[in-house]
Symmetry: C2
Subunit: 326 residues, 2 copies
Amino acid sequence: MGDIARLANVSKPTVSRVLNNSPLVNEATRERVLRVARENGYAINRNAQKLRQARNDTVAVVLDFGSHRAGRIADPFIFELLAGVSEALSVRNQDLLLSPSNLSEVQSHLDLISSRVADGFIFLGQGVRGPMLRDLARAGAPFVVWGGVDPAEPYCSVGSDNRLGGQLAGDLFVKRGAKRWLFVGNVAHAEIRMRFDGLRAVAAKHPEVTVEHLEVEHMAYAPVYQQMLAWLRDNPPPDAVFAFSDTAAIAIVAAFRELGLEAPADYSLCGYNNIPPAADFTPALTTIEQETHLAGAILVEKLMQILDGGKPKSSVLPTRLIVRQT
Amino acid sequence: MGDIARLANVSKPTVSRVLNNSPLVNEATRERVLRVARENGYAINRNAQKLRQARNDTVAVVLDFGSHRAGRIADPFIFELLAGVSEALSVRNQDLLLSPSNLSEVQSHLDLISSRVADGFIFLGQGVRGPMLRDLARAGAPFVVWGGVDPAEPYCSVGSDNRLGGQLAGDLFVKRGAKRWLFVGNVAHAEIRMRFDGLRAVAAKHPEVTVEHLEVEHMAYAPVYQQMLAWLRDNPPPDAVFAFSDTAAIAIVAAFRELGLEAPADYSLCGYNNIPPAADFTPALTTIEQETHLAGAILVEKLMQILDGGKPKSSVLPTRLIVRQT
DNA sequence: TTGTAAGCGTTATCAC
DNA sequence: GTGATAACGCTTACAA
């Protein structure tokens, strides 16, 4: 930068002002500096910049590779979320640091802030990290979470209305006249538990309805298929099934088919996420759609508010039932 | 750091030495400094560190959100790759900067290096970026690519043996006695073109075989399903289909089913990637498996070699045919 | 509108 | 083994 300043016959601060679009610089000077900078292929050293400035302009995004990878979850859901966040951050000229998945402890997250690597965090999917997030909030770290939204939590979260999702599925089952409902999903995940709660809330109003629960630890296709099949061998078949994901719903279709049962003739089935194949699957899946498209932008917006000293409220995104064949 | 030095009665350089595990520091001093640092919750400022040091210890990873998101590609393939890279980088204490997808130009990539934000790049999926990558290599940027491996390219790439993948599918089709083959895929993607080449190489040795090609631009389920269906209405059905992905293969099954055609009775079908649902799908998909598990570590290893001044060779990972029902 | 001087928190160099 | 000093490349405060 010193070089550029010399070549353009100005001082370093002036070059800095030009590069930061300061309004207090003469138009002619600005042009000259920019030209010299361009001709010399100058690029600002972002480390020096960050060292000097208060903000880091970097956000650490934390994925739950643990659950998603080991379980080889097939839903491209988190990936879409990541794409949205990436876009929203780049619009605001924020760097996206993908947080190493081994940072499980509160302290290692705090270190990332105090080392001035990132300004804050975006957690995609709260998974089973509830307690850690509470501690992190207590320690004052700036972050937002995509996942189940619980106003009682001490941090800002954004998520679709999982409880409503569960209710929508329940309402559908009632309309179809189903009596023996089955919920399939790992309720250790806050967002999934809320769907279950929504479903049970509807069931509670209909005494003739019973709700059972098949707990699946791994969220991928194969384990769901196998557990569903095993369950069906030990239990009378339900006439309505609510699955925590469309991928799971597809696995469930396969398992029921083994017993000669087809949706919607023998049972109603509702998935979650409205992944692209859901519409074209045979049978076409009834499912709950989340507004992923907005999610990235909203998460980033809220985190920026926090970094600016604000206290944004958690917010719940709309969710809707998409009725197809099942 | 000055504070820690004062509190521990040493100088700043000594604190620095302790923190960097320098061997030339007295054991007692080291203990004392570490204790003081811990007690005061000290964390090193990584920006100052990076400003001073030659290396940045940050790798920019570039995903093709463009193809994958707009096309809403359902294969969790790239996601697995990303998880592997993330893991391999964190083992080496390298930060992972997820590159904004709008960096399409060579210059914007070069800027990331000259701004000292990242030391180098890992491109996941070369997609349609072939020419850009060539330019980037010519400009001397350090990077490696996951994708189709072509020794003629001026950069280091790692990928599975796509050509062999195509040959394995071809051999299978020959064994099944199929004569009218169809390849479904966007050959603008280098890795997909190589699969097509492998398939055609086998066909060339069998004069009775014809190979047709259905070009699909978007790689997601829905467009493949629709294009396949449209094609089947205009053409006599093939007796063997090689799809660029398992997701596509599933779409193809659905399209053929519309015409009352089932695999394997009416046609042979081979997918790619061996995604988890492939095994449990009805019919169970025959597919080609890639060794994604190793990919992340190998990519990182090669990039580190480049950053250390080496010239690692491109390498091809094994690929194997998994014969199931189709 | 522009320039001067100081300082951000580290590490490299060299001396002791 | 350890310390003094300078330097990395930028921005802020203040002066002109």
